[in-house]
């Protein structure tokens, strides 16, 4: 992460038209891709859950949504901060911005649904929601190609549309964010499994009439 910060602030050149504000790009883009990855993990884990009915897949799906929402929030916060000096507005109902906001609300709804429904229905409903909700991800990703938008297109058919040092800085930041993402996701999964085991132990103790 320190190397990523070094490449962002020292190695990467300052962009000519936008100036120093363009450096937000190095956290905005990896966060967006990792949010998509998290929701993809949820999608796959939800399919596996419905197929195998193994609660570990439900845990993976739930934890991936939580981590994905964190990264999607970073995208939605850094985007307007970048837009204000460049577009002169904090927010505009551009297809990319709107679809990203819908994506965020979809997965916030997923987390709220898990809290609202009863335990015996929770995993099944969440899995169905996790599969249907994923429809939003390709729509969000391709929105800048499907509709007219002011959002810049970074990945073109010729690869990454930027200079060499910028490309290098983005790759380093992306790797650092990947480490952060997977460590957060794995910690969250481990914590959730511990909680489940603890609940099981509590149930057993209740059945055995242990005096608390």
């Amino acid at each position: 992460m320190l190397l990523a910060l070094y490449t962002i602030f020292i190695y990467a050149p300052v962009e000519k038209t936008m100036g120093v504000i363009q450096k937000i790009f190095y956290i905005h883009v990896p966060s967006a891709f990792l949010a998509y990855l998290a929701f993809f993990i949820t999608f796959i884990a939800s399919i596996f859950y419905l197929y195998r009915k193994d609660s570990k897949w439900d845990t993976v799906a739930h934890c991936a949504v939580e981590t994905g929402v964190i990264f999607c929030t970073i995208v939605l916060v850094t985007g307007p901060i970048w837009a204000k000096p460049v577009w002169n507005v904090w927010w505009t109902w551009d297809p990319r911005l709107t679809t990203t906001l819908i994506l965020w609300f979809t997965y916030i709804a997923y987390l709220m649904l898990r809290r609202a429904v009863k335990e015996n229905q929770r995993a099944n409903l969440s899995a169905v929601f996790g599969i249907i909700g994923f429809i939003n991800v390709p729509i969000t990703f391709f929105s800048i190609r499907l509709w007219r938008t002011i959002h810049p297109v970074i990945i073109t058919s010729r690869g990454l549309n930027m200079s060499g040092p910028m490309k290098f800085s983005l790759i380093i930041t992306f790797i650092a964010f990947c480490f952060l993402f997977f460590s957060l996701l794995l910690s969250r999964i481990r914590l959730e499994r511990l909680k489940m085991r603890f609940a099981e132990i509590n149930e057993i103790m209740d059945e055995m009439n242990f005096k608390k």
């Binding site: 120093v20 964190i70 929030t73 901060i81 511990l194 603890f198 005096k211």
Partner: protein, 54 residues
């Protein structure tokens, strides 16, 4: 055009979000550790009670 304040805001908010989330995970872990400690105590008490009855 100096936009350093926006850059500073973006980076500080990003790191705040990440650290708040890590702190939440850490707190949940602590709460769980405490509950495990309570279970251990309950089990020990029950074992001692059983021993005294037998």
């Amino acid at each position: 055009m100096d936009n350093s304040i926006y850059l500073f805001a973006a980076f500080s908010i990003t790191w705040s979000i990440i650290f708040i989330y890590i702190f939440r995970l850490f707190r949940s872990q602590k709460a769980l550790d405490y509950q495990i400690y309570e279970i251990k105590k309950t089990l020990q008490r029950n074992i001692e009670l059983d021993d005294s009855h037998s």
